[in-house]
Symmetry: C2
Subunit: 242 residues, 2 copies
């Protein structure tokens, strides 16, 4: 079987899932490329698989061929992808002990980079505030370097999550340019939750006030701030290295 029309109901459903709200409502997201499809199969999360007509498929998973025109209608990549899948969310809704909290991160590249850094430096849970970009956005997925299935991802209200963190006595760290504590003086701990803030506004003051410690990265004052993907890398590497 091959789907030749962009108006096919299954193809329309994929396009619908590219929308954040619909994706969240259904708990499903769209993935592109071998890397992510393989990971989705390995994790038993793949639901549907669509393959560019003529491509040889090496997976033991039912699939449907589509024409290149149809494929292009469900991707914003410059080159036509050969594989597109629908995956279930990874969301386990249980907090780990090494947590990153994202307070309204907007840029998909930054969000993806933070997920990648989190996997690299042993964070077990990344919590996206409800006003952050969706972790299942195509551009985020691309920037993670295929890491999305290697970490627990939660979309939640940060107020509730911070309550839980406080109740579990996990140390809560804020990051802010105006903080008095330099990262150099922060002790490594086995349990932590670190909040990174919106690109323009930083971490919300109401959260900074709840933190056990607010951390600053020392830098030359010619530079006003670092990119949040970079800051997260520096802070998480500090907490990781022995």
């Amino acid at each position: 079987m091959i789907i030749t029309s962009k108006d096919n109901s299954k193809i329309k459903h994929i396009r619908k899932l590219l929308n954040k709200k619909d994706s969240m409502n259904e708990g499903l997201f769209v993935i592109e490329g071998e890397n992510l499809v393989e990971e989705a199969i390995k994790n038993n999360l793949l639901v549907e698989l669509y393959v560019l007509d003529g491509t040889v498929v090496k997976y033991d998973f039912p699939y449907t061929y589509v024409t290149s025109e149809v494929m292009r209608s469900i991707s914003d990549m410059k080159s036509t992808p050969r594989l597109i899948g629908i995956s279930k969310y990874i969301n386990k809704n249980t907090l780990g002990k090494k947590i990153v909290l994202l307070d309204d991160i907007q840029d998909p590249g930054n969000a993806g980079t933070i997920i990648r850094n989190s996997v690299a430096f042993d964070v077990d849970t990344v919590v996206f505030s409800k006003n952050s970009v969706s972790p299942y956005n195509e551009k985020v997925l691309r920037s993670t370097g295929g890491m999305i299935y290697n970490i627990n991802i939660i979309i939640a209200d940060l107020d509730n999550v911070i309550d839980t963190i406080k109740n579990e006595n996990i140390k809560l760290y804020g990051t802010s340019l105006k903080s008095s504590i330099s990262l150099l003086n922060v002790e490594k701990t086995n349990e932590f939750a670190i909040i990174f803030g919106n690109e323009g506004n930083g971490v919300n003051n109401k959260y900074l006030e709840l933190c056990d410690l607010n951390i600053r990265i020392d830098m030359n004052n010619k530079c006003e701030s670092l990119n949040v993907g970079v800051s997260s890398g520096i802070v998480l590497y500090h907490m990781y290295k022995r």
Copy 2:
């Protein structure tokens, strides 16, 4: 005076300068927005200034009004910029003592982030290999956060630059996933040159072989690699902090 036609010769000249080769040949680049225009004036590098019709200009610099249609024809921003300038290159062609070398970095966002990190952590010179993205590319300029005028930028053949570095006895560091020396064990020095590599291929082997030391960033093996903007931030912060 107001320019109303996209085909005006001055406007055509700006569009020409958006091309890497033409920009390099003329030693001029296009800048957008208040931040960069102010910096260009401060550094005596602004050559021409174009202002969106109706905008109040607070600079003591001759300018020409253009219509919003003309403005949009010389920018790829979603919103129409109010200021566009032509600036001379900052290029001093003299190497400093804290140097970053970019071996064929392709992504403008990464290049801009590395410039921003370099300013933050006291690097004085960033050398772009000839096959790297242009440091004067609009997207690079945007990712630097306006930092381009705060650092010495050189576009050069890396072989020649590495010769000079060797002759001046400045320590040369490579970065590689396969390196045996962890960043943790690298001593901070007041003079250094660090090479960061292409997004797909890393640093060219011929350069790695010339290095005094090749550095690795320890990470969980679930993650294959970090984004090069993030790696540069972690390494440069390590060399900076006291």
